[in-house]
Subunit: 209 residues, 2 copies
Amino acid sequence: MLSVSTLEKDKQKYHHGDLRNTLIQIGTEMLIESGADELSLRKIAQRAGVSHNAPYQHFADKNALLAAIAEEGFRLLGDAIDEALQNSQTLSPHARLLAVSRAYVAFALQYPTHLQLMFGAFASETYPSLANRSHQTLAKLMSVVAELEQAGQLAENPIYDVGMVVWIALHGLSVILNAGKIPDYIRQDRTPEILVNQFIDMICKGLLK
Amino acid sequence: MLSVSTLEKDKQKYHHGDLRNTLIQIGTEMLIESGADELSLRKIAQRAGVSHNAPYQHFADKNALLAAIAEEGFRLLGDAIDEALQNSQTLSPHARLLAVSRAYVAFALQYPTHLQLMFGAFASETYPSLANRSHQTLAKLMSVVAELEQAGQLAENPIYDVGMVVWIALHGLSVILNAGKIPDYIRQDRTPEILVNQFIDMICKGLLK
DNA sequence: TTCTAATGTTGACACTGACAACATCCATTA
DNA sequence: TAATGGATGTTGTCAGTGTCAACATTAGAA
């Protein structure tokens, strides 16, 4: 092999420098591009310009890298929610809840494979930082619920339970939309946004008399 | 190889007879036993006592077999719901809704990998019979909602939308429970059954004043 | 009975995750 | 400054996987 001039911009050092984060980033990209089935450690390593075994210095096994990618997914989801909160500052708590809800489902539809990874069965004890990230995401939902509470609009339920119900509804809707499991005769012409608005509103107001 | 006496009980015929269903059944068992990662066409074929390529006579590829296993999962879920309906015949529509809800979540917790498969991204056009099965499952939920309607207990929402909201909530709760994503400080000591009862009740009554 | 389509087998191939042994490099310390 | 050990990356290898192609066996229709 020829030795590479140190003046080259992308000079190839023996040590990558930040391989761990690079692998997570590339994995995230490939997951978005080609889906979870096409994700292989070796392809990720290759695209990072590193040997097929280098990832094992930073991740115990493939699952550990997937968990890190899932964690990155929660970060992205958190950003999307934050953005919705930013853009709805002047609105009522209820309108903000709907804005956040739409952002959640929009994220789910944009990154379906990510969502599946994020809610896969990664043991919290094995991947505590992943668990933390998911709790942080939930906290963002809770903050909107807290606004409703402060506005005196909440029925008499534990506030945390209200947040959980919202999360559950958003996630259920996301999964069922992604799986294409809403029959046409029910869905009719409604966009995801409209479905979110209507379904979350129904939950806010209650299904029964 | 020695020729096998035709008197042997499990004589090995060249043609299996009902390989397609056998593969689905074995796949279902292995999915329950060892999870989706351990599922391989070759292991399933081996356990069926058949060569590693025999499955390709009945399934275009691995994904097609997975779709069939997912379909079997909807059948099992349907059975669980039917059983809950049987056992609650004397109860009120609302109590029957809760019974079905508990059955749904109980199934999800018992067969977590199945649930993930069932709501994976199988294109409805490619696997129409899987789509049918999922619609049949939804119909069972709808029947309980119809009871509520006939009892005059439904708020003014399209009945199909009510059914969808119930499904969404049940599925969201199932996934989030399976993923272990309810923080301890929220979950406290509540069993899944109690969580189902409380959360579904909250949705029935509404979150807001 | 004959013949053809359905069903099952054998063999091969590229790809994958993982392990072990080795190479390179960086940072600390003497 | 020099060396030395731990962190990082590489090469080689292995069993297991999904899939394709070619072939073998069989059941059922003609």
